[in-house]
């Protein structure tokens, strides 16, 4: 069975310390925006920025987004960024990263699996992590936005406001772990079936840089998403693949083949669970 616990990396930028916690209570929140909102509620006083992936990232096509949840002046925002970040987070072994506190000076966070290093802001980013296994989120002073791997950017400047306020200018994440696939035949069958469903996507095939795990190379993923379908964004699939990942049967098959013990009812009911957490936040 897949792990029932979510691995969460907590990074305190003010103290330059970090901690990894394994939390089984987060299992019912599935991942992505679900886990992100729960972690925000649990850490509200720290004003965190929470990066989360879902159980399907790294495993299935179109599950290529990273959810970012933060409190923006009383509005709980959930934004999504594509590229390679979600795959690197998965292969670093994390479900979520909770970044809080404020660094005394601008810095670069260099994460390789469970190791975290706090580097100067002018550290040479190409020298950090491992080529081919890293994602680099960096602030571009001219464009006044963050870019992931020089191309993908988050929407609406929310991340800019939150991370610059914390003095976090660059984030490099490297993932070197591999995970065995136990029901390989069934997994391969579902993978192939999903990959053949490009006709259900709401983007056209193109030749732009693509998110990892997506063959489309579309012109829409350059800028991330904001809000949207809770189930799709808990998994964390692309909003343009919502027709595929809002189908409970498909979702259940994907989770089941990976060994998760969610029932159909768990999947159907959990948006209500998220709603309650949000209501608790007022």
């Amino acid at each position: 069975m897949a792990s029932l616990a979510k691995n969460v990396l907590y990074v305190d930028l003010g103290r330059k310390t970090f901690d990894v916690k394994s939390d089984t209570d987060l299992h019912k929140y599935v991942g992505g925006v679900g886990v992100g909102i729960k972690l925000l509620a649990d850490n509200f006083d720290r004003d965190p920025v929470i990066f989360s992936i879902g159980p399907l990232n790294g495993y299935f096509p179109y599950c290529s987004k990273t959810s970012i949840v933060a409190n923006d002046n009383g509005v709980i925002e959930d934004i999504y960024i594509g590229g390679s970040l979600s795959s690197r987070l998965k292969f670093a072994g994390f479900d979520s990263i909770v970044v809080y506190g404020r660094a005394s000076s601008p810095l670069t966070l260099d994460i390789t699996d469970e190791e975290v290093a706090f580097k100067e802001v002018d550290a040479k980013l190409g020298s950090l992590g491992l080529p081919g296994k890293r994602s680099v989120l960096s602030y571009d002073q001219e464009e006044r936005t963050y870019f992931l791997d020089k191309y993908f950017s988050p929407p609406e400047k929310i991340l800019e406001k939150k991370l610059l306020d914390k003095n976090l200018y660059n984030l490099v994440i490297t993932g070197t772990k591999t995970f065995p696939v136990k029901r390989a035949d069934k997994y391969g069958e579902i993978y192939k079936k999903l990959l053949g469903q490009t006709g259900l996507l709401t983007v056209e095939k193109d030749r732009h840089p693509s998110c990892v795990g997506c063959p489309m190379g579309c012109n829409r993923s350059k800028t991330g998403e904001i809000g949207g379908n809770v189930l799709t964004h808990s998994l964390v699939a692309c909003t343009y693949a919502e027709k595929i990942f809002s189908d409970i049967g498909v979702v259940f098959s994907c989770l089941n083949v990976l060994g998760y013990d969610y029932t159909h009812e768990d999947i159907e009911n959990f948006p209500e669970l998220i709603k309650k957490v949000l209501e608790g936040l007022g």
């Binding site: 096509p61 190409g126 990959l195 095939k205």
Partner: protein
């Protein structure tokens, strides 16, 4: 050609199915989806990047996102037809494997 020479060298008939190898013929087409890496790892019944015989690297000396593909000779122990087929932008081709004398290896 003497009979002795003919016995030492093996000549293949025209209808021999030649061994194939995977070649990165159009790296400029790469969009960075890494489906090729996922395919190789799936053949090994795992997910992840470590140990994959294909590496998709981001070019460092450009202002935008572009890719370099490196393949390990071990790739030819995999089902390379599947790797070629999964690429959405036809980066790879399958080439006939010939030795330096133009002979099939």
């Amino acid at each position: 050609m003497s009979k002795a020479n003919a016995s030492r060298r093996k000549w293949y008939p025209n209808n021999t199915i030649m061994a194939k190898y995977l070649k990165v013929s159009f790296p400029e087409n790469c969009i960075g989806c890494e489906l090729c890496i996922a395919e190789t790892q799936r053949q090994l019944q795992k997910v992840g990047l470590d140990g994959a015989p294909i590496r998709v690297l981001k070019k460092q000396d450009t202002d935008t996102l572009a890719f370099i593909i490196e393949i390990d000779p071990r790739i030819n122990n995999f089902d390379i037809e599947k790797i070629k087929e999964i690429c959405p932008t036809q980066v790879f081709t399958l080439e006939d494997k010939e030795d330096q004398d133009g002979l099939v290896s």
